[in-house]
């Protein structure tokens, strides 16, 4: 299977000693990869390095074979992302916000902008400025921006933040629709274990900056009653290993 993302020895330690250390991970075409971990585990740090927002102390990320450090434009050509909060210019309308991003992709026209606004359920707010949007609507606009260029890879950090139940279901359906019909590969971080269980077909557990395990969801659910049980078991196992080391 085609390797879409290759993460090798990825390390970033902040002055407070937190961060990520020695992460090695491959994401393959068609994966809906769920990156699970508690707050402060290093999920966002890894995703920020993957999208060039911060630089790694060591290691590299290659997307479709292009290094994010040395060939940024090529690496990001087929990537859409939503990191932490869905940012948008408050003084531009939803349409103008998407138009700003569309200019970087020759194939994205006004029709596509309308299409993604429709897909994310905010078409009727097209001419409104996001400063008046609720958190959920801002998140939908962020998702519209992420899928705008019909990316082959989507890197989404907590994509369901701020969404109500209806919104969560819609976005989950959208993710599955894109994966099945357009062959989009996903790298999703979330603290909503149940949602990851319903959406992702591969799961990686990150804890205290280290990647503890990676497995297919079906294998996990064959051995554990729920994904939550698996997560707790992996974290406890890591706790025992690291405490026995002292």
């Amino acid at each position: 299977m085609e390797k879409v993302i290759e993460i090798s020895d990825l390390t970033k330690i902040y002055p407070n000693g937190r961060g990520i250390e020695g992460i090695n991970l491959d994401i393959y075409a068609g994966d809906i990869f769920g990156f699970l971990g508690p707050n402060g585990a290093g999920k966002t740090t890894a995703m920020k390095i993957m999208t060039g927002l911060i630089k790694a102390d060591r290691g590299d990320v290659r997307i479709f074979g292009h290094s994010i450090r040395d060939e940024y434009e090529k690496a990001m050509a087929h990537v859409g992302c939503l990191i932490e909060i869905a940012d948008s210019y408050p003084f531009l309308t939803a349409y103008e916000n998407l138009k700003q991003m569309a200019r970087y992709y020759p194939d994205v026209d006004d029709q596509r902008i309308e299409e993604v606004l429709q897909l994310t359920g905010i078409l009727k707010y097209k001419q409104e400025k996001p400063r008046r949007f609720s958190l959920g609507m801002k998140q939908r606009l962020g998702l519209a921006a992420a899928i705008l260029s019909r990316p082959k890879v989507l890197i989404l950090d907590e994509p369901l933040n701020g969404l109500d139940v209806e919104g969560m279901i819609e976005i989950r359906k959208l993710i599955l629709h894109l994966a099945q019909n357009e062959g989009t590969t996903f790298f999703i971080s979330s603290h909503l274990i149940h949602d990851v269980e319903l959406t992702c077909n591969r799961i990686g557990v990150i804890f205290e900056g280290k990647l503890l395990s990676v497995d297919r969801t079906e294998n996990i659910l064959n051995n554990y009653a729920t994904l939550e049980n698996y997560f707790v078991s992996e974290v406890e196992r890591y706790g025992r290993i690291s405490s026995s080391a002292y």
Binding site: K48, T51, M76, I85, S88, Y89, L92, E96, Q100, Y105
Partner: protein, 250 residues
């Protein structure tokens, strides 16, 4: 090139949608109106000629080049950089397939175009006001020189903008950058007065280099020396600003 052009169009769109840019243009026009009223008032009240049709735009330039033009250049530069850093809006651009160098260059180019537009608008309206009120003293050659003085003023203002952009990449808060810029501007202006022998080396003194272009015989050596000094400052500020921008984490 396509990515740079997209980034540049985006920066220009953002600038045009902000109230600061509009306010800068309105204030620039207000200076012309007030200036012309003063000239007319002095002429009719005291019987002094004041400024002729081609002298009036230069008079306006001499006022705005040391006041509102640097002020709005600073505001726009701070908004383009610190404003986007503070609200993480810069991430919208950074996560697109465009290098940080192109983003930085597009922002600098947009600021340069803003300054140029402001200068051209000032030139247009001050010339119109000059011709309307003092049409009898107009001449084509003098008007040509006036155009040159406005166009060459872009360069020192751009150097100033690059210096402020460097500050936006050093300090976290836009407010801090604004006050540091004002303070640095005043200190450099005072230094130019206190130490006139070194004034030609200061960025703030170079704002007045348009005077060199008004002479009947152009002081080419002095123009070249001043130009090279400004070019040196521009290269240093651009390189240092980009270095810090590239290292920044968001």
């Amino acid at each position: 090139m396509a990515a740079f052009l997209a980034a540049l169009i985006n920066e220009l769109e953002k600038l045009s949608k902000k109230k600061k840019a509009l306010l800068a243009l309105i204030l620039s026009l207000a200076v012309i109106v007030i200036g012309q009223l003063l000239v007319v008032g002095v002429r009719s009240g005291l019987g002094i000629r004041g400024a002729g049709s081609v002298e009036f735009p230069v008079l306006v330039l001499s006022v705005v080049i040391n006041t509102i033009l640097p002020l709005f250049t600073a505001l726009v530069a701070i908004d383009c950089f610190s404003g986007e850093f503070a609200h993480n809006l810069i991430r919208i651009t950074l996560t697109r397939p465009v290098s940080r160098f192109k983003i930085f260059a597009a922002k600098v180019s947009a600021i340069a175009l803003f300054i140029l537009a402001n200068l051209l608008l000032l030139l247009l309206f001050s010339s119109l006001a000059g011709f309307l009120f003092n049409a009898n003293s107009a001449s084509f050659s003098a008007f040509g020189k006036t155009i040159v003085t406005y166009l060459v003023s872009l360069f020192p203002l751009l150097v100033l903008a690059l210096g402020i952009i460097l500050l936006t990449n050093i300090f976290k808060s836009g407010t801090t950058v604004f006050f540091v810029s004002i303070l640095a501007f005043l200190i450099l202006k005072a230094a130019g007065i206190l130490f006139p022998q070194y004034a030609s080396l200061l960025v703030t003194s170079q704002l007045d280099w348009y005077h060199l272009w008004l002479s009947t015989s152009l002081p080419l050596a002095k123009i070249l020396r001043t130009f090279l000094l400004m070019l040196g400052y521009a290269i240093i500020f651009f390189t240092a600003g980009y270095y810090l921008f590239d290292k920044k984490e968001f």
